[in-house]
């Protein structure tokens, strides 16, 4: 195989593009997660540039792989602390201002993505079960923003102020509809109501899952659709599209 082929890149170059180590790429190759091509059996690994692009483009799948199946993700999508998140969301805001499809909605999109992401930090600080921080990625061409965390989830968080909550679906319903008053032990907890009210008046959609409950909000509508799904997530995952 001719590695001068413009579409083939070395494993080192692929590792750099993806923000993971060469060891990780070898593991992914063996497990089938991201396959390499070889110049001869047992020879060097090369990667097709388009395979790397496809891998990086499926943001929701990457977020799920990380949040549900605990797989490694490219470093560029991982925000270990809220300072990293603030820097990256500010960058997104700047790109949206320059983007003709996003510039009318940039402040609302940045604001709701900020609420969802910061909620993850605020509710899990000091209690992250394994990995602290969130997944945050966006694709302005596809008009989507993806966030995820491996925190304790909405049900466990809300049970502290509302012990009668029975399941994830009820917790989602509460999180998106009930104003939690300042008398509760923590002053936070109204960010998701804000997200809902913004979506109700704008062409922005949201899919939000915690536990086995998934909520769908469609733009310009206050309807709340919550359903149970088979794939369980301990923390939260959100897909905003516009």
């Amino acid at each position: 195989m001719d590695n001068q082929d413009k579409n083939l890149i070395t494993i080192g170059e692929a590792a750099e593009l993806l923000g993971v180590s060469i060891m990780t790429l070898r593991r992914w190759d063996e497990s089938g997660r991201l396959l390499s091509v070889r110049d001869k059996p047992g020879g060097h690994r090369y990667y097709r540039k388009e395979d790397i692009d496809v891998f990086l483009n499926d943001l929701f799948q990457l977020a799920k792989d990380w949040a549900i199946y605990e797989k490694e993700i490219p470093e560029q999508y991982y925000c270990q602390n809220s300072g990293v998140f603030q820097a990256r969301i500010t960058k997104m805001e700047t790109l949206m201002i320059q983007n003709k499809d996003a510039n009318k909605l940039f402040s609302l999109l940045t604001s709701i993505a900020g609420e969802i992401g910061n909620n993850s930090y605020d509710h899990n600080l000091g209690q992250w079960p394994d990995i602290p921080g969130i997944f945050f990625a966006y694709d302005l061409n596809k008009k989507q923003i993806v966030l995820a965390d491996r925190g304790v989830g909405i049900l466990e968080t809300l049970r502290k102020v509302k012990p009668e909550l029975k399941d994830h679906a009820q917790a989602l319903q509460t999180a998106f509809t009930e104003i939690i008053s300042g008398r509760e032990p923590e002053a936070r907890g109204n960010g998701l109501k804000y997200v809902r009210s913004v979506i109700a008046g704008n062409p922005i959609n949201l899919v939000f899952q915690t536990g086995d409950a998934k909520l769908i909000l469609n733009g310009n509508s206050a309807d709340l659709n919550i359903e149970n799904v088979s794939e369980n997530i301990r923390g939260c995952i959100a897909l905003i599209s516009f």
């Binding site: 805001e93 940039f106 402040s107 604001s111 900020g114 930090y121 605020d122 109204n190 804000y194």
Partner: protein, 98 residues
């Protein structure tokens, strides 16, 4: 006294930075006269959120009540945030056009 929010940043979205801004503001408010009005100017703010606002605006509203005025609040994220903060606090902000 006029407080220009853009001096605290233009992407005001987290509780953490809202709290930091509020504590920085305390030094500025030390010199305020007893019946002096406080005007919060949103000019230049690109994105605002309830988390930041709840740490900064809500305590000001609770302490200064009618002495507090907000101006240049046309940004959509500012509008949407003020609406929900008012619902949570059960009080209205006094806003004026810039």
């Amino acid at each position: 006294m006029i407080i220009e929010l853009k001096k605290f940043g233009t992407t005001l979205i987290s509780r953490q930075t809202g709290r930091e801004a509020f504590s920085a503001l305390q030094a500025i408010l030390r010199d305020i006269k007893e019946d002096e009005k406080i005007e919060i100017d949103f000019d230049g703010v690109l994105t605002f959120s309830p988390s930041w606002g709840d740490e900064f605006l809500t305590p000001l509203l609770n302490t200064y009540g009618e002495r507090l005025t907000l101006k240049n609040t046309e940004n959509p994220s500012v509008q949407a945030t003020l609406e929900i903060l008012q619902k949570i606090a059960g009080k209205k902000f006094d806003t004026i056009k810039g």
